[in-house]
Amino acid sequence: MDAIADKTFKTDANSSTSHNYDSPSLLTVIIDTNPVIWEQLEPTLSFKAMLESLTVSINSHLALNNANEVAVIANHYEGAQFLYPCHVSREDEENQQVNFVKTDMYRQFRIIDDSFLSQAFKLFKDDTPPTTQPKNFLSASLSLALAYINKKQSHLKSRILIMNVTPDTHLQYIPIMNSIFAAEKNHIPIDVAQLSPHYNSTFLQQASDATHGVYLQIKTHTALIQYMMTVFFIDLSIRDSVIIPGIKEIDFRAACYVTGDIVDVGFVCSVCLCILSDVSLVGKERRCPVCDVQFDVNVLRKLADRKFAALIGSGANGESGAVKKRKLINGQSNGTGTTATSATASPMPL
């Protein structure tokens, strides 16, 4: 029977390989709508031109599979908000006469394009340009996107695409990081299109790296649509088979909690893990500016001045007694402990 059985069970192996032949997916686009930055970019890439390319790309995503879905979120300077899906109130409904896309467009595309373009249009229509420095609501946008995806993920594979122009400064570090982990945990790749040719975003690089997404800085804006089609609108099911451009060098620097500066060497509080760019930030009180614990004076001094640290190293009062006792215990037990002194004398070898 084995011979017969083998036949039946082998056919099974072949058929199951096509498991993810074509599964529908959800694409969540986060558009950076910071008007100040867009104004700066105007000579090479206008916001309108970007929207046009994006619309066509979204259509192409929908064209891949009938069951594909999209969501569009605007990362506006007044806060993140959904552009699509969006629940339009009655009054807005009446005000809206403009058709943004041709009426004979394929209806599945038309409904979505119309909705999100009109919402985007509204954002800019009744806005006076901000007088103060606009805030960056990327963390809010990401949170909304992730919550939306979480709801949908039961039956759709999902990914996030961020069209970013704003620089990293003034980003809330912790919420962004939390969002990245949530995305990582739920296996949602974050793709980033950095449209500004002038700078790269450290955090978004980290985001796409951690979630196995694509990060690409687009410098030539004339071929934006081609970039979108070849790099960012690759269906999830063929991510494994297509060679996707990756960034060779990723900056994993972190932001200082107090000054917001981005640093490559920092001082980390052992209790709250906050990152400080300089020892002097703890001040005279020797307290952590975030969690308010008091640091050991010796350690601080050591960090500030390594030469001085050598002098006071032996005088770690109170600690020395503990060391002696520990040695005694080591003698009693089977002697696995090595040098207890080195461990306690300098908590962090420098």
């Binding site: 029977m1 017969i4 059985a5 039946t8 069970f9 056919t11 099974d12 192996a13 058929s15 199951s16 096509s18 498991h19 032949y21 074509d22 529908p24 066509v56 259509n59 192409s60 064209a63 891949l64 599979n65 009938n66 069951a67 879905e69 899906p85 339009v88 009655r90 409904e93 009446e94 809206q96 896309v101 041709k102 004979d104 467009m105 394929y106 209806r107 599945q108 595309f109 038309r110 409904i111 979505i112 394009d113 119309d114 909705s115 009109s118 039961s154 039956h155 649509i225 081609q226 089609m229 070849t230 609108f233 690759i234 269906d235 099911s237 063929i238 494994d240 088979s241 297509v242 060679i243």
Partner: protein, 508 residues
């Protein structure tokens, strides 16, 4: 997944068409989009990268985009677009079929589409019908056909055209409607999802149409257009060709289209039609259309409150929402436990009838039937010609979302703990699938061939001569050199005997 099945069959059909016919098909933007959706993923990717690229692409580049270990998929992708003549190459560079490229580009940008996606009626229909009506209509029509196939007592039979097609496609046999019985293919047909079923019939129809001198381009264009129409909207028949009008009349019999009167100048596509080119997830089985009716009935009551001023956008957004929610509802209904007990959340007599083909059903509640897969029930199905594979496929495509979710979680965990595990994804517990397969094997515990055993050879030489001759002409099934015995088939026996007579007599 079963959805691939219909894609494969439709693709096979399209690929088999002559190039001239294919080029004619690409004249219609709607058809371009529909064909695009049927392609394998990598083929879609190639088309997308080339569609906005004015320059031809070097063939070598096509290779470099794909990881070497996925070569097989790439070859398959390129083969499919080449045989559809969408991709052309001269050995060095590749270009897309200009017409196809132009039209697909137009679809994406919304320019120059014309009436390819149907011509909505300009005037208001005085006898307007709503979506729930269309759903009931469609599911009635379609389920009547399926019920007829499973042999339920019916008040009315499907139309003559339908019966003819059922006979023609070999799903049923018999002369009069009463005498028609389902064939093994028919049983297998029942286990497919609706999309695959409709396409099976449509492809049969196409083959028939060709012999009736109908232009397949016209027919296909119309079918693909139907797939892109909006549910609940009325469309004008004025832009249709003569062939398409004929087709329209026939498709009414299957519930794909609703027309109030035969002479009416407007028609409504039903859900069966609008999901023609979509994935199976949109509509799993006809029975779900029923629950759709119940669902939409409740939603219409809620939306009726603000029906005062329905502007276009609101209506469409609400349908989009309801369509999205329905995909969740329709995802599946069967839960199967490792102890072979089966629970199906359905009240459709049809689905119950289909389940009854291979499940021992025990009790039935308002929206639930319970049953058990037993050796006997599976054997009954096997004897009906349903294969184990088909039963498993049915269970998989109709699996309850919760079952799917848990299975995926378990699989994810396994991958996490052991990245290079060679374990495969099991939606249905392997003990169930294996047992069903084993039951199928049980039917074939012995293999038998009629024939003759040659034995009692007087010497080694005689045995050698005859045995090697029998082996040469391929009629030998078994031999034992030590005992000097071999077995030949019934058909080969005469030859071997004749040879033996020639050889051995001569020898004497």
């Amino acid at each position: 997944m079963a959805s691939n099945l219909f894609k494969l069959t439709v693709n096979d059909y399209l690929e088999g068409l002559p190039e001239a016919t294919q080029s004619k098909l690409y004249q219609s933007p709607a058809t371009c989009l529909a064909i695009f959706r049927l392609l394998p993923n990598l083929a879609k990717f190639y088309i997308m990268t080339m569609i906005f690229n004015e320059k031809p692409v070097r063939l070598l580049d096509l290779d470099t985009w794909v990881k070497p270990q996925k070569r097989a998929e790439q070859v398959e992708g390129i083969r499919s677009i080449k045989s559809l003549h969408i991709l052309k190459d001269n050995g060095e560079v590749a270009v897309l079929n200009p017409k196809f490229r132009e039209n697909l580009k137009n679809v994406l940008t919304g320019v120059d589409i014309g009436v390819s996606f149907g011509a909505p009626c300009e005037t208001e229909d005085s006898n307007k019908v709503d979506i729930s009506f269309l759903d009931t209509y469609a599911s009635n029509k379609w389920e009547t056909i399926l019920h007829f196939m499973v042999g339920t007592e019916l008040n009315e039979f499907p139309s003559k055209g339908v019966l003819h097609l059922l006979r023609h496609s070999g799903l049923m046999t018999g002369g009069t409607p009463k005498a028609m019985v389902i064939t093994n293919e028919g049983f297998q047909f029942l286990l497919q999802d609706v999309n695959a079923q409709i396409w099976t019939l449509l492809l049969q129809y196409l083959r028939m149409a060709e012999s009736l001198q109908m232009d397949p381009v016209d027919v296909l264009n119309f079918i693909f257009m139907l797939g892109s129409l909006e549910l609940g909207k009325d469309y004008s028949t004025s832009v249709l060709s003569e062939t398409q009008l004929n087709l329209l009349r026939d498709l009414k019999d299957y519930g794909l289209i609703y027309q109030r009167k035969d002479s009416s100048k407007r028609f409504y596509p039903t859900r069966l039609a609008t999901t023609l080119t979509s994935d199976a997830t949109t509509l799993k089985s006809a029975s779900t259309a029923m629950s759709q009716v119940i669902k939409s009935a409740t939603t219409t009551t809620t939306t009726s409150s603000n029906k005062g001023n329905t502007s276009g956008s609101q209506e469409s957004s609400s349908t989009a929402v309801s369509a999205a929610s329905s995909t969740i509802e329709n995802a599946g209904s069967i839960i199967i436990e490792t102890n072979f007990k089966l629970y199906a959340y359905t009240n459709s007599p049809l689905q119950i009838a289909i389940l009854n083909l291979f499940v021992h059903l025990k009790s039935r509640f308002a929206n639930l039937v319970t049953g058990q897969i037993t050796r006997e029930s599976v054997r009954k199905a096997l004897l009906n010609g349903i294969t184990a594979e088909q039963m498993i496929a049915y269970l998989e495509t109709h699996a309850h979302p919760q079952l799917r979710k848990t299975a995926e979680e378990v699989y994810q965990k396994k991958i996490q703990y052991d990245a290079n595990t060679n374990e495969k994804f099991h939606l249905i517990q392997p003990n169930i699938t294996d047992q069903i397969k084993l039951w199928q094997l049980e039917l074939d515990r012995i293999l038998t061939w009629d024939g003759y055993l040659f034995t009692d050879f007087s010497n080694e030489e005689e045995y050698q001569v005859l045995q090697s001759y029998a082996e040469e002409i391929g009629v030998m099934l078994w031999c034992d050199h030590n005992k000097r015995k071999f077995f030949v088939t019934k058909e080969g026996n005469a030859q071997v005997i004749a040879y033996a007579n020639r050889k051995l007599r001569k020898g004497k």
